[in-house]
């Protein structure tokens, strides 16, 4: 099994590399820009294994793994392999000395080959007065000792594995922020799951940390739930629910309590798939109030609604540009679904995708420029893969997944560098995965039950 996985990953990486190199050379800079900010070389971090004094030592494995994973998945850094490190490492600034003959206590021992780091992350923990205390440092190893300190954190948490894990997340978050990145710490992924639901088709909303930890059931609505959207402040979810035997309607959910907030549904056979405006004051959604499904907009309580589209097709998935409230993407057919753009009044409709296959699930990057979407181009109808385009040049696209099951519903993380999506690659049931904007660092976040329709909230 393990061997197959390795082969699988090797093939996958090779395919990505080939596609990226051969086809996408021109756009490579754009996507790299999404991941590392404004381009340029990534900071090269040497992250030592922290040790704990006395009772703290057994907790350090959890801390070190968390710190390393968070820094790596931020995609902001080039993490240097530990095998290239010197024999020793400092645990506190007083350990540092100007020269150490490559033994590890001099900063230049880290900047020189073979480590070739730009920054050193070090420190230690100890249990002090019943709490686990972290002393964490980041030094620019290319500077003299007195001007090398970039970050010093003194953080405390409970003296157990959970506390050590939280310390790892917090320290990583502070490092990411120091380098100008948006930390995913505190962000959460909401999704639908059949776990804990009632009835043959029942689903509920579940929530997990951005790295897949702390999965728990948020709602107990007792029906079938789908198509969640998260408000920009992360305080509420708009979901589509089929009450037992009833027509699909929109429910607004408080993300703290999991309970429904009143939302007025028009008298119609369907009200569904609501999304929020960037300022969080309104929703766009589909309703069949006028006969066939069309896009409407309404206030957060569902009142003050008005119709936006009047197309002959089947308009759905209205998504407002986070940087421009008058620019929407939506999906329409038929015969085959494509992504279109229009303004907030439903005028100026233009097709964005090139007409091939079925294109759907448009998701704006927080930069208002890049769009991830699901597309069947090159595959059979229904075999979706995740693609990214620059809305300014939509004819150029980057393919991030490559026909490993159906890959759908891509949504950007608040950092604009990560994506979460659903895929049937794992045992044929839909599960939630995350990846970087270049298709690398694919991580399976769920394994139990059937999980779909992820969205990434700031909290």
């Amino acid at each position: 099994m393990k061997k197959r996985t390795i082969i699988y990953v090797t093939v996958y990486v090779t395919v990505i590399a080939a596609v990226c190199a051969a086809v996408l050379l021109a756009q490579d800079k754009d996507i790299t820009g999404l991941i590392v900010g404004n381009g340029g070389a990534k900071p090269a971090l040497a992250v030592v294994d922290f040790r704990g004094a006395g009772d703290a030592q057994p907790l350090m494995d959890a801390f070190n793994k968390t710190l390393y994973n968070d820094l790596q998945s931020s995609a902001l850094f080039d993490l240097k392999p530990k095998s290239s490190f010197p024999l020793n490492n400092p645990q506190q600034p007083s350990d540092l000395r100007p020269e150490d003959g490559n033994q590890g206590y001099a900063l230049k021992d880290w900047s020189a080959a073979p480590t070739s780091a730009s920054h050193l992350v070090f420190g230690y923990t100890a249990v002090q007065n019943g709490v686990l205390v972290l002393y964490g440092y980041v030094y620019d190893v290319r500077q003299p000792i007195q001007s090398a300190q970039l970050l010093f954190d003194r953080l405390a948490d409970s003296p157990d594995e959970a506390g050590a894990t939280r310390l790892g997340h917090k320290f990583a978050s502070d490092i990411i922020a120091k380098f100008g990145g948006a930390s995913l710490l505190g962000s959460r992924i909401y999704f639908t799951s059949d776990r804990g639901a009632t009835g043959k088709y029942g689903t509920e909303i579940w929530v997990m940390d951005w790295d897949g930890n702390n999965q728990k059931q948020l709602t107990h609505l007792g029906g079938q739930v789908a198509y969640p959207a998260i408000s920009p402040d992360g305080s509420r979810l708009a979901v589509t629910i089929w009450p037992a035997g009833g027509q699909p309607q929109i429910d607004m959910i408080n993300t703290d309590t999991g309970r429904a907030i009143p939302f007025y549904n028009q008298k119609a056979s369907l009200n569904a798939a609501a999304t929020f405006t960037p300022d969080g004051t309104r929703v766009f959604y589909s309703s069949s109030a006028s006969g066939t499904a069309q896009i409407y907009t309404a206030a957060l309580d569902g009142r003050g609604f008005s119709r936006v589209t009047s197309t002959r097709g089947n308009p759905s998935e209205p998504k407002v540009n986070p940087k421009n409230p008058d620019a929407l993407l939506f999906v329409d057919g038929s015969p085959n679904e494509q992504i279109y753009r229009m303004n907030a009044e439903g005028a100026g409709i233009e097709r964005v995708t090139n007409g091939e296959g079925e294109a759907s699930n448009p998701a704006w990057n927080p930069d208002g420029q890049h769009v991830a979407y699901a597309w069947t181009r090159g595959y059979q109808a229904g075999d979706f893969n995740i693609f990214v385009i620059d809305i300014g040049a939509p004819e150029k696209y980057i393919q991030l997944t490559h026909s490993e099951g159906k890959n759908e519903n891509p949504v950007w993380a608040p950092d604009g560098a990560h994506l979460v999506f659903s895929s049937t690659r794992a045992r044929k049931t839909s599960q939630i995965f995350s990846m970087l904007a270049d298709g690398s660092q694919v991580k399976q976040l769920t394994t139990q039950g059937i999980n779909k329709y992820p969205v990434w909230g700031v909290k």
């Binding site: 088709y201 027509q247 699909p248 056979s269 798939a273 759905s316 038929s334 109808a381 159906k406 329709y453």
Partner: protein, 269 residues
């Protein structure tokens, strides 16, 4: 009773024919200026003219048949002599000296003909009796409590209507299925007068979930509209789109896709 009446009638006819023949034979033998009037009838529907002095008016009035059901038609026939003013009551009014008129009384009615002449007047009456129709057969009795539940009836009696890929039009096999469904639905709705039946629209797994929700809604509406055209009350049908959220099967092949592209009926709540 009917048989007896018919036999009597035959006898009467036979007797009348005999009398007529006898009269004819007599007429051939010697000339008689005025034949005697016929004997008075035994039935109550005809009155013979009163025996009167020469020159006095005479009148006969006959209703045939004399017994009808309400709504049926009988014929009044009359003859008069020595009269210059002949009328019949019950809305008929002045008539010719002899004639025939169809009548459709709704209840038993006695018609009276009055003939006035220079030498007096005479009356004749005829009664049309309205008989009651036989009672209808007893209505078909239905069990007051249906033997099968609404859910099981909907499940067993109603068939799915299938659609082409990304299409909402009713194709031929769906038309056949929905016509049978319309008949079955009428029976079900008459047994369950308060029931509402859901017309569900479903899609195959291709296409995005959100897009398929709209497509399923249009399929459900399309099937609903067809059933309404076939006489199923629109108020008893409720469309629900499930898009691709409730598949019948999950294999990635056309056989399974086709099973999922359907309008399906379920018991409403």
């Amino acid at each position: 009773m009917t048989t007896t009446w018919l036999q009597n009638r035959n006898l009467t006819l036979t007797a009348s024919a005999f009398v007529a023949l006898a009269l004819f034979a007599a007429g051939c033998g010697k000339h008689t200026p005025v034949p005697p009037p016929p004997p008075p009838p035994t039935g109550g529907n005809q009155t013979a003219p009163a025996t009167a002095a020469p020159g006095s008016p005479t009148a006969t009035l006959t209703a045939e048949p004399s017994r009808i059901e309400a709504g049926q038609t009988a014929n009044l026939s009359w003859t008069t002599t020595n009269a210059n003013d002949v009328s019949i009551n019950n809305g008929i009014g002045t008539v010719a000296a002899s004639g025939r008129q169809a009548i459709t009384p709704m209840e038993t009615t006695t018609y009276t003909l009055t003939a006035n002449g220079p030498n007096g007047s005479v009356r004749a009456t005829a009664t049309v009796t309205i008989t009651s129709p036989p009672p209808p057969p007893a209505p078909v009795t239905r069990p007051s409590v249906p033997t099968a539940s609404l859910e099981s009836r909907v499940q067993s009696d109603l068939k799915d209507a299938f659609f082409d890929y990304d299409a909402v039009n009713i194709r031929e096999d769906a038309r056949v299925a929905l016509m049978a469904d319309a008949d079955a639905l009428k029976r079900i709705l008459s047994d369950f007068p308060n029931a509402v039946v859901n017309v569900e629209g479903h899609c195959d797994e291709r296409g995005s979930a959100e897009y398929n929700l709209g497509l399923g809604d249009r399929r459900a509406s399309s099937a609903r509209d067809f059933l309404v055209q076939m006489g199923v009350p629109a108020a008893k049908l409720r469309t629900i789109s499930y898009g691709k959220e409730r598949p019948q099967c999950t294999e990635a092949d056309e056989a399974c896709y086709q099973k999922n592209r359907r309008a399906h009926m379920s018991a409403g709540q």
